[in-house]
Every structure is written in C-alpha cells, then in structure tokens.
C-alpha cells in the first residue's frame, strides 16, 4: 500500500509538471512529500513557478495563476486515477481569455477517459461543448431546462 501510494504519487508529480508547463507555456511545478520517510501520513507541499518568474511561495500567485495551477494538479490526479465523470462548476471564473483557451484545450485531452459536465458563464468555454443545456427561471423560483444544441446552431426549447 505504501508502494502503491508512492507509485501514484510519482506519476502525479510528473503529470503535474507536464500540465503546468502546458497551461503556463513553461515554468515549473512539483508536489513534494514533507516527510519522505513517512509517505502515508505526512503533508504534501506544492511548488509552482510560472515562466520567467522567480520561485516563491504559492500564496503569492495571482487569482488566475492559482486556478491554473490547481487545474494542472487536478488533471494530474485524473491521469493517475481516471474518473468516468468530471463536473466543473465555474472553474474558469478567474481566468483571462488566453488562459481560458488553454484550460479548454486541456479538458479536450481528457475526453478519451471521461465525460465532462462544465458549468460556465464564459462564451469561449461554451464553444467546446458537444451539448449545451440552458437553465432558466421564467417562472420565478422554478428551474427549467432548455436544450441548445450546436449542430444546428439554434436554440431548441425542449
């Protein structure tokens, strides 16, 4: 079980670095065991250095940079242990348009293993959807589903 953990952890480390570089266009990130002699109990540290910047504590990163680093780590965990379904609720809220596009591109790499349900207000994120549902409250306080499929580029109320 200790072996199992260390193997997954090594894989997550590698993916985290890879996805971070992909999302940031460079830089470096890593996860470390705070006590390698006690891998099943110790804390886990994160270091992240965006390209061109100096390494500092992760707390100093901007809102968008923290979201992007968190997404890189989340997807590294997915690679190590895929989940059939991934639900993301407004994960792109802090991202500027360029980073939103990179985030979208990374999501698409995982379509082989997983279904995605993505809640968003961002038009750019809507463009990567295969199916788009709208939720409305025409009658106050009552939620209703509206289907909007992209294939025919028009809203079909179902």
């Amino acid at each position: 079980s200790r072996e199992l953990f260390l193997t997954s952890f090594a894989e997550i480390r590698e993916r985290f670095g890879e996805f971070f570089r992909k999302l940031f266009g460079g830089g470096r990130a890593d996860v470390l065991l705070s006590d390698p002699d006690d891998p099943l109990e110790c804390g886990i540290e994160i270091i992240a250095r965006p390209p061109g910047k100096e390494l500092q504590s992760i707390s100093l990163l901007s809102g968008g940079e923290k979201t992007l680093a968190a997404v890189a780590l989340l997807f590294a965990i997915f690679r190590s242990k895929p989940s059939p379904l991934c639900i993301l609720d407004e994960v792109d809220a802090a991202l500027d348009e360029a980073n939103n596009d990179r985030f979208n591109a990374l999501v698409r790499e995982f379509l082989v293993d997983s279904q995605f349900i993505i809640i968003t207000h961002a038009k750019r994120t809507m463009t990567i959807a295969d199916v788009l549902y709208g939720v409305t409250m025409q009658e106050p306080g009552i939620s209703k589903r509206v289907s909007v499929k992209f294939e025919n580029q028009s809203a079909a109320v179902a």
Binding site: S83, P84, V91, T125, P140
Partner: protein
C-alpha cells in the same frame, strides 16, 4: 461507466420533474445567476451519498426540498435519480444500466433505491467506491472551490491524494 441521465423532482429549485440527458464528451450548462446550475451539482452529490447539509449550502438536510416560490407552494418530497450505462461493469452491479435514486420526505423519511430496489445509503456509497466518482470525490469541483487544491493546508491536500493514490 457513462452517465446517461439526471432526473430531479422537488430538489431545490427544480420543483417540476426535469431531466438532463448526457452523451459522451462535454456537456456545458449555462444560464443566469441563481437559475439552478449549481443546484444540479448538489443533486449529483446528494444522490451519491452526501450527508452534510452544510456542504450542500443548507443548514439542515430538509433544505434540499423545494420550499415554494411566489407562484407555488412548497413540496413534500425531493427526489433525484442518476442513470448510468454500466456495460463495462465498472459499477459492481450486474446490469447494463444502473439507476440510483434518493428521496427525502418533509416528514424526515428517506428512501434509497438501486435499479428500483430499496437499499441503504451505505449501499449506494459502496457501489461507487473505486470508480473515482463519489459525493466528495476530487472529480466534482464545486463553485469557488478550485483554488483549495493549492491553498489548503498540506493536510487537507493530503486527503485528496489519499483518495486518488
């Protein structure tokens, strides 16, 4: 396994029976503030076995039952059903399709069903063990929570790694 359908009736703002059909790939859910999008996430987590009302934004579990609006009276039952394509048998249930249902009555009574057979909440939770999908799995990221992975104390982050590794 693949999620095929989410049906809600009387769950939070979904007073009327509403269903969402899911295909492979990406499904985006959009709409104005307060229209019910995050309530869908709460519904999925609730039927998978979430027991903390607070983590569903309520103060008591009763808060998930539709409690009325300007034009409607409150309802007596909240019901959510998730239906999966289980052809690959990722779920430990010998059936091509698996439906899990959770009901909560205003009386406080609860019902749990797997393929329409009554069961306990424990059975639903166990069904999803080892699938990577669970009410508190890292594969469900709630609104405002994504940064926790990098901000939380290293001990909280530990919990996510233990689940994943």
């Amino acid at each position: 396994m693949k999620l095929r359908k989410l049906e809600l009736h009387g769950f939070k703002s979904f007073a009327d029976r509403t269903d969402f059909v899911f295909e492979d790939g990406i499904t985006a859910i959009v709409g104005p503030n307060g229209c019910g999008k995050s309530n869908l996430v709460d519904a999925v987590r609730w039927v998978l076995g979430e027991q903390s009302a607070k983590s569903l934004r309520g103060s008591q579990m009763m808060d998930v039952i539709f409690n009325g609006s300007a034009t409607r009276k409150s309802q007596g039952l909240a019901e959510v059903t998730l239906t999966f394509d289980n052809t690959d048998r990722a779920l430990s249930c010998d059936s091509d399709f698996v439906g899990v249902t959770r009901k909560l009555y205003r009386s406080g009574e609860s019902e749990y069903l797997i393929n329409k057979n009554a069961c306990r909440l424990k059975d639903i939770r166990e069904l999803f063990l080892d699938t990577g999908l669970g009410y508190d799995s890292y594969s469900i990221i709630e609104q405002g929570k994504v940064e926790l992975l990098v901000q939380s104390s290293s001990i909280e982050r530990r919990a996510v790694f233990d689940e994943a590794a």
